[in-house]
């Protein structure tokens, strides 16, 4: 097989790790964050708003999936306390693929931090007003101009936070790839990884995906219309 890095550790088996929805949400967020940045710099706030609504929908879905999705995508399965996180951090210098199926305790906190930063970004964007009072988020009619300007200000800070987290995220992946010879990108594309033995992860049935998509779309649509009837 082509995956030499894993063969060093053990011959093992190829097994499913990430389900389709988790991978699609991940890469769609990458694309939309880049597009949101670009459209804001270009001053095309119409596209920026649409991009933000899409991010909002994906975020709602991902939070839902963190409770109702497949085992490897559930917050309950990967978010660990400080003791477990510290114990994991001590093993970081060890090379090779980890035996944790999915997010390790440190990566889990990075997932939580990124999701919270994006939540902050989307929420502040909904209430933000531009300096001219010409362009604004769909819920900004609920606040006055000065408050909307504060939201716009926080919207900029939280974007800086996202940039910092993305740099850390990519740096961590590069560290795993180069130092630990552990490719994390491949599984996020194909959904599969080589394990010493099949971890026997369970995956959510299709109707949960449909339900989550309907909920996310409904919330996104209502907010994009400013929650006005």
């Amino acid at each position: 097989m082509s995956d030499k890095a894993d063969r060093v550790v053990a011959p093992g088996v190829q097994a499913r790790l990430w389900d389709g929805p988790t991978r699609v949400v991940h890469w769609a967020l990458v694309a939309l964050l880049a597009f949101s940045w670009w459209s804001a710099e270009e001053g095309n706030l119409e596209w920026h708003r649409w991009s933000g609504y899409a991010v909002l929908g994906l975020l709602v879905f991902r939070i839902y999936w963190g409770f109702a999705g497949s085992a490897s995508s559930r917050f309950g399965s990967f978010v660990k306390g400080p003791r477990a996180t510290l114990a994991y951090l001590k093993t970081i210098p060890r090379k090779g693929a980890g035996d944790v199926p999915g997010h390790n305790p440190a990566g889990a906190w990075s997932v939580v931090a990124i999701l919270l930063a994006i939540l902050m970004q989307v929420t502040t964007g909904l209430f933000a007003v531009d300096v001219d009072g010409l362009e604004s988020g769909p819920l900004s009619y609920m606040v006055d101009f000065d408050t909307g300007r504060i939201f716009a200000e926080v919207h900029e800070w939280s974007f800086t936070a996202i940039q910092v987290l993305v740099v850390l995220h990519v740096a961590a992946i590069a560290f795993y790839m180069i130092y630990k010879k552990n490719n994390l990108i491949g599984p996020m594309i194909t959904g599969r990884r080589r394990f010493e033995s099949d971890p026997g992860l369970t995956f959510a049935p299709w109707w949960r995906l449909v339900l989550g998509a309907v909920i996310a779309f409904a919330i996104m649509w209502a907010i994009s219309k400013g929650l006005r009837v």
Binding site: A40, V129, D130, V131, D132, G133, L134, S136, S140, Y141, D144, F145, D146, G148, R149, A152, E156, G226, R228, V229
Partner: protein, 147 residues
């Protein structure tokens, strides 16, 4: 005596600087008023059935402010006196073009209240859009980029 004179000049100079800084700050506050009025217009237009009375009130505010706007840019009231100011030196470097864009904005701001009074909602929405366009036309060249 010379020292006293120099001191006097320095004080006078400081006073002048303070005044232009105040002018720059006042300009900022006036533009905030304009932004506030414009946001209210857009908020109102986003409602199911916009109130024409509210639209008329804010349209009048914008027009009143636009009439004063050319007087907000005396020479020497830029970044040099208020570092936070977003006004670009181009305002004083290209006075003719600046004045023309200002006139175009004033014309739109004068037209908008009449459009509101006439009452056709689609025309009001179009009017708000072209008024916003007149704001942006000037900001593109004469104000520092700010989101």
């Amino acid at each position: 005596m010379a020292l006293a004179l120099a001191g006097g000049l320095a004080t006078a100079g400081a006073a002048v600087a303070a005044t232009s800084a105040q002018t720059a700050h006042l300009r900022h506050e006036n533009f905030e008023q304009m932004g506030d009025a414009f946001k209210r217009v857009n908020d109102e237009l986003g409602r199911g059935s916009p109130s024409k009375a509210k639209l008329a009130a804010d349209a009048a505010r914008i027009q009143k402010l636009s009439a004063q706007a050319p007087s907000w840019f005396p020479k020497g009231s830029g970044k040099e006196v208020r570092p936070k100011s977003l006004t670009l030196p181009a305002v004083w470097a290209n006075p003719t073009d600046f004045a023309n864009k200002m006139k175009a904005f004033q014309a739109e701001a004068a037209k908008f209240p009449r459009t509101v009074t006439a009452g056709d909602m689609e025309a009001i929405k179009a009017g708000a859009k072209s008024l916003g366009g007149a704001c942006k036309a000037c900001h593109a060249d004469y104000r520092e980029k700010k989101s």
